[in-house]
């Protein structure tokens, strides 16, 4: 048996041993591991979660059956005799030696750096020490919040600052470079990152260094190069790392210019029995401070030790990083700093939206080399696999908000289209080639799109890309898209389903086209949704003006415009819920939902609510749901406009408006955005000049932030723009298409929308406004409409031959003091 000694029990050393144990089925190697730290190998990448309460055990990597000596570092390597000596005096002969000693924090040589209260940020022991010092500082009597200085504003420095903050200190980050995270992001990205980090209440000073640290009445004072003095209870150095190569140097192994044991593409040092991997290794002179390249090196050495021929080149090492720093998305990939000769940079910087994106492309603008994303890293997954490949689209459009969707065509074959069922693009394309030419056919043969369904649009795109004509037909009864049908209804004056299907369709419709036609008719203002033949078109929610829940009962939601409700009204809601035994819950949209009403109870419930001044909240229809609001100038110290007043006005204006999909809005009284207006189909944020209008947020399965359509509007202009926007959406969107994908589907995207809404480029603005006026003028409460009409009321019975007998299948039990449904059995229950 051959002897392998691994020096270092960190993440990469551990991976090597794991890979070797897995593959050495013949038992060729006997492995001894030496660790300087007294603990078994742990996940250093997740180190910061330790201060959030993740335990050391949780971070520990799976244990392996090898001779492991912890707390006993190697102190000498005798290469001639092929022996390692440890601190405790152990002598270990080897046939192969792997150096995996990682790196040590770099502490700049400033006076005072050894004072008590100064720390580095690398190991669990470091964090224990920091935690103890922080606890002591916080407990110390005296006014004010305890503070800390973090030396270094790179990835680790920011992580350390965040950790210090969760330990109750106020951290100040001092970065010598002019920007944060100088290694991963560029100037523009760094500037935005700084703004975002500062709005997370972290103080940052860039372009200055720490010149010295001194003790001052039991605390520390850090003096900066610009003369500023910062008081601190703790100082944490995270100013970079240096490869832990002392042992190798002493053993006479060549090291790189900037440290690190020189290795070749096999990870072998100049000594054929000695290998180096991870942060201590310098491949072609360069060291790598990330775990992924280290893991790749570990795999190469494991392969080599078993006689394999694996190699690696710097180009193959994945230096991409994606992280969420204090809630800020940051990603960098490939040649993020544009070091390739002739490389071109394409930047889209949107300080208003808080996003920065850069692509680095080759000198002929054909190949993607790398990039940086700050603020919104959602395109990372699509961009990273493209590094080194030809650009699929104009680079600006690839990163511009509302630009080309980096969808199916840009993705490599190995990219996962359906992550629920792990179906790759290759598999889908293959299936299309084999004749699956519709989405249902693709679903059946690949399982893609059968779970959450969020990839169905991508499947459609792949079909289109493959030249398959995807039918726009609504269903077997109409060969038209919803937008086309809308135009037909609007221009022909046909106002019944029968008329429409007779003239322009076939058969008697189905659950797809009937509600779509119902919605079109409702948008065109054709009276109560139950009038005449329209009653038969409505799906169950619109038919019963309430929301069908899983056990066949309904939920009832009165409108609370802007979320405002009087104490008197609150009491009525409480009384109704109590008297009818309804489960109550505050919804996600600032309303009160009452669950568990049976069909025959609905009119009596509405009667009480309508009498108290409530209207239908349209929680059921594909219609306006809520306009959420914060408290704005009325109450809030920061408010610059009356967000509640506007929200109430907008909710009343658009109540009852039917659309291709349900839609929501929000109004925030200032840029602090307490109403989360940017996650809505249209959202409004007050500025001290007026209102900013954002559109296309939410997105359903694929969450999206709304984008700025127009800024600093007065209220009248704002309302006019929203009228146009909503009506344009209602007229041209597909069935069940939310505003976000609708905007994406517009040729020209957001810019086109802006042209239509703001500049009236199509000359239809007056038309759209008139249509909205008609809706607003003809609005009537649908609940009241039923209560006032005996014939409609007669439909609200449990059984036509036993109108007051409750559905015997509806049963409830108690949970947390309220009534909830007993789960119904599946096939065959009761009947």
């Amino acid at each position: 048996m051959l002897e392998l000694v691994v020096i270092g029990n960190g993440m990469v050393g551990h991976r090597l041993v794991q890979a070797l144990c897995d593959r050495d089925s013949a038992g060729e190697w006997h492995i001894t591991v030496l660790g300087e730290e007294a603990r078994p190998a742990y996940d250093r990448v997740a180190l910061s979660s330790y201060v959030d309460g993740v335990s050391a055990e949780d971070l520990t990597l799976p244990s392996l059956t090898v001779d492991l000596h912890l707390g006993d570092p190697a102190v000498a390597v005798d290469r001639d005799a092929r022996r390692v000596t440890t601190e405790s005096g152990r002598v270990l002969p080897y046939d192969a030696l792997v150096l995996a000693t990682g790196s040590v924090p770099f502490v700049p040589p400033v006076p005072g750096r050894d004072l008590p209260g100064c720390f580095v940020y690398r190991t669990l022991d470091d964090l224990d020490a920091i935690r103890a010092a922080a606890a002591e500082a916080v407990a110390r009597p005296g006014a004010g919040r305890r503070s800390a200085v973090v030396v270094g504003g790179g990835l680790l420095g920011l992580e350390a600052a965040r950790a210090l903050r969760s330990l109750g200190l106020s951290p100040q980050v001092v970065e010598i470079a002019p920007r944060l995270m100088p290694v991963q992001v560029d100037e523009g990205g760094g500037a935005l990152l700084r703004r975002l980090v500062e709005s997370a209440e972290l103080a940052v000073r860039c372009g200055v260094s720490v010149n010295g640290i001194a003790e001052d009445r039991g605390r520390l004072v850090a003096t900066l190069s610009d003369g500023v003095e910062l008081d601190a209870d703790l100082v944490v150095f995270s100013a970079g790392i240096r490869p832990a190569d002392a042992l190798a140097r002493a053993a006479g192994l060549p090291v790189g210019e900037r440290g690190g044991v020189l290795v070749d593409e096999r990870c072998r040092t100049s000594d054929e029995h000695v290998w180096a991997i991870g942060e201590v290794a310098a491949l072609e002179g360069r060291t790598y401070g990330l775990v992924a390249p280290g893991y790749a090196m570990a795999e190469v050495v494991a392969d080599r030790l078993l006689g394999g021929r694996a190699t690696m080149t710097p180009e193959e090492l994945d230096m991409s990083t994606q992280l969420k720093m204090l809630g800020v998305d940051v990603a960098s990939f490939g040649d993020a700093q544009a070091t390739t000769p002739g490389a071109l940079e394409v930047v889209v910087n949107d300080p208003v939206a808080g996003t920065y994106a850069k692509l680095v492309v080759s000198d002929d603008a054909r190949t993607l080399l790398g990039g940086v994303l700050v603020g919104d890293a959602s395109k990372y997954a699509a961009l990273r696999p493209l590094v080194g490949s030809p650009l699929p689209a104009d680079p600006v459009a690839m990163i511009a908000p509302g630009g080309v969707e980096l969808g199916a065509d840009a993705l490599p074959d190995s990219a996962q289209i359906c992550s629920c069922n792990a179906v790759t693009k290759g598999a889908v394309v293959h299936a299309i080639g084999d004749g699956a030419d519709t989405v249902p056919a693709l679903k059946a043969c690949t399982r893609a799109g059968t779970s959450c369904g969020s990839c169905v649009p991508l499947l459609k795109k792949l079909l289109v890309d493959s030249g398959v004509q995807v039918s726009k037909a609504l269903c077997e009864h109409f060969a038209f898209s919803r937008a086309e049908l809308f135009e037909i209804v609007a221009s022909t004056g046909i106002r019944t389903f029968s008329g429409l299907v007779d003239e322009h369709g076939t058969g008697r419709g189905c659950d797809i086209c009937k509600p779509a036609v119902a919605s079109i008719l409702a948008s065109l203002g054709t009276g109560h949704v139950h009038d005449g033949e329209q009653a038969a078109l409505q799906d169950t929610n619109d038919h019963f003006l309430a929301n069908l829940q899983r056990n066949g009962t309904y939920s009832v939601v009165p409108r609370l415009p802007g979320g405002e409700v009087s104490p008197e009204q609150l009491i009525i809601i409480g009384e109704v819920a109590r008297d009818f035994g309804l489960y109550t819950k505050i919804t996600g949209g600032q309303r009160i939902d009452m669950f568990g009403a049976r069909v025959e109870q609905l009119p009596a419930i509405w009667r009480r609510l309508v009498d108290a001044g409530f209207e239908s909240g349209h929680a059921y229809g594909k219609s306006l749901r809520t306009v959420k609001s914060c408290v704005g100038t009325t109450w809030c110290r920061y408010g610059v406009q009356d967000s509640v007043g506007l929200a109430v006005a907008l909710e009343l204006r658009y109540r009852g408006l039917r659309a291709p999909h349900k839609f929501k809005s929000g109004v925030s009284g200032c840029a602090r955005e307490c109403a989360e207006a940017r996650s809505k189909d249209f959202g409004i944020i007050a500025t001290d000049q007026g209102w900013n209008l954002y559109v296309g947020g939410n997105g359903g399965f694929t969450p999206r932030h709304a984008e700025l359509l127009a800024s600093d509007l007065d209220t009248a202009t704002l309302v006019r723009y929203i009228d146009r926007y909503l009506m344009f959406y209602i007229r041209t969107a597909d069935r069940l298409q939310r505003t976000a994908p609708w905007i994406e589907s517009l040729e020209g995207g957001l810019d086109h929308l802006r042209a239509v809404v703001v500049e009236d480029s199509l000359g239809i603005a007056a038309d759209l406004e008139a249509a909205m006026e008609q809706h607003v003028g003809s609005y009537a409460d649908e609940w009241r409409g039923v209560l006032e009409d005996e014939e409609k009321l007669a439909r609200f019975v449990s059984f036509v031959n036993a109108p007051d007998t409750p559905d015997p299948l509806v049963r409830t039990r108690e949970e947390r003091g309220q009534r909830v449904p007993v789960a119904l059995g599946l096939p065959g229950v009761g009947a």
Binding site: E476, H477, S498, G507, R508, G509, C510, D511, C513, K514, P515, E533, A535, A536, L537, D539, T540, H543, F544, L548, R550, N551, G552, A794, R795, S798, F799, V800, N801, A802, T805, D807, P808, L809, V810, L824, G825, L826, P827, G828, V829, G830, A831
Partner: protein, 115 residues
Amino acid sequence: MTATETSVRWTTICPLERLLPERGVAALVGDVQVALFRLHDGSVHAVGNVDPFSGAAVMSRGIVGDRGGVPTVASPVYKQAFSLVDGRCLDDADVSLPSYPVRVEDGQLDVGLPW
């Protein structure tokens, strides 16, 4: 329908006018829930009211239409379509609703349940 007068018991449900064209109603016959539909062409159909996929008694509240010429009702819960002629589910061959004979006498709608 193959059911004969002797094998079913007829129950009068309601006047036929109570049924809007292409909109169902639920009826309770003993402890059996039935969903009754009157179609555009005037024909009347009855199937079980309990949706086999959700267990909820809601079939009468589904949207009526046709698929490839077969008159259907779609479950309002998970949207599977069922034939109004024989109750079979058009989206899952293993599932079906019970279907019942109906007749109209003197403007009254009767449904026949097995003895």
